[in-house]
Amino acid sequence: MPEMKYDDYLVKSRMPLFWCSGCGNGIVLGAILRAFAKLQLDRHNTVVVTGIGCWGKADDYINTNTFHGTHGRALGFATGIKLANPELKVIALMGDGDGATIGGNHLIHAARRNVDITAIVVNNFNYGMTGGQYSGTTLEETYTTTSQFGHIESAFDLCRLVEAAGAPYVARSHVLNVIQLEGFITEAIRKKGFSFVEALSPCPTHYGRHNGMKTAPKMMQWIKENAITLKEAEKKPQAEWENKFVIGKFTDKESVDYSTRYEAVMALAEASVSKGVSEREG
């Protein structure tokens, strides 16, 4: 295979991107494609699975195999894709609404099962595609088209949640830190087992506009100013960072992935065949 450069994975014929001016999605897309190039992924053995949302349209620009299913269900499809052919590299791209609001259950169960999938959630704090309503990661007291008097719910700390669900690799960065982000994504794809990367990203069109940050640079600046590294956070009392975006790698542990464990099942099952199948009562 000739060496792949990052833009060899890009569907140039569909450029310019569909996303709004300043939308962070393109930055995350770039980071992913560079990670693909770094890992020299074979397009034929790679499947990008997306949900529905602005970020969910990322597959339109990636020329590997793709699956674009329903809102919230990317990890369901991805699980089938991966387990039916464990040789595949499967990357699921989901929005915060997609991956963590409607799709929250698939997220925690995929993490628990440790299926070898890389989940990349672009958290832009709202439903971009449908016009900027609040999602499970919308911050308290901020404004969206459906929290016009200020949002009263707490936002998920997605990394903490996915970690608690059992994922062996969990990291968070933001699009301004694009080099770090690319690094996390590369590690995550390399990781055998369920890996999760959250990318904080601007949606200037909706979340930004409703919260006094009409431009992408403003919203990126805001993310940066409210971020703290995991290392720094660990040194300080919780009260000083609990309302900040903690940036860093939360987990990176060893854990045998689902497909590998299933090999044991197959071995035992095969052994049982010779013993004969005893009928069970329904």
Binding site: K5, D7, L10, M15, P16, L17, W19, C20, S21, G22, C23, G24, N25, G26, I27, L29, G30, A31, R34, V175, L176, V178, I179, E182, P204, T215, A216, P217, M220, Q221
Partner: protein
């Protein structure tokens, strides 16, 4: 000197490149299109390339192979 070029067919004038270039290489046109006005300052850090959400910036670092 590093050479910066902007693909205006892809650029949407978001201003990210300009806002976050560490050495303020860019100015912007009225519609946001970035102009590498102070190309000579460019350190070749490539952050503008990496952060451009629209794959619109090409950077030729002098001495480097064109990428």
């Amino acid at each position: 000197m590093n050479r910066i070029s902007v693909n205006t067919a892809w650029c949407k004038g978001c201003g990210i490149c300009a806002a976050f270039c560490p050495v303020k290489v860019f100015t912007q046109e009225r519609d946001g299109t970035p102009v590498p006005e102070y190309q000579e300052r460019c350190t070749g850090c490539k952050l503008c390339v990496l952060r451009c959400p629209d794959f619109a910036i090409q950077l030729e670092v002098s001495g480097d192979e064109p990428k």
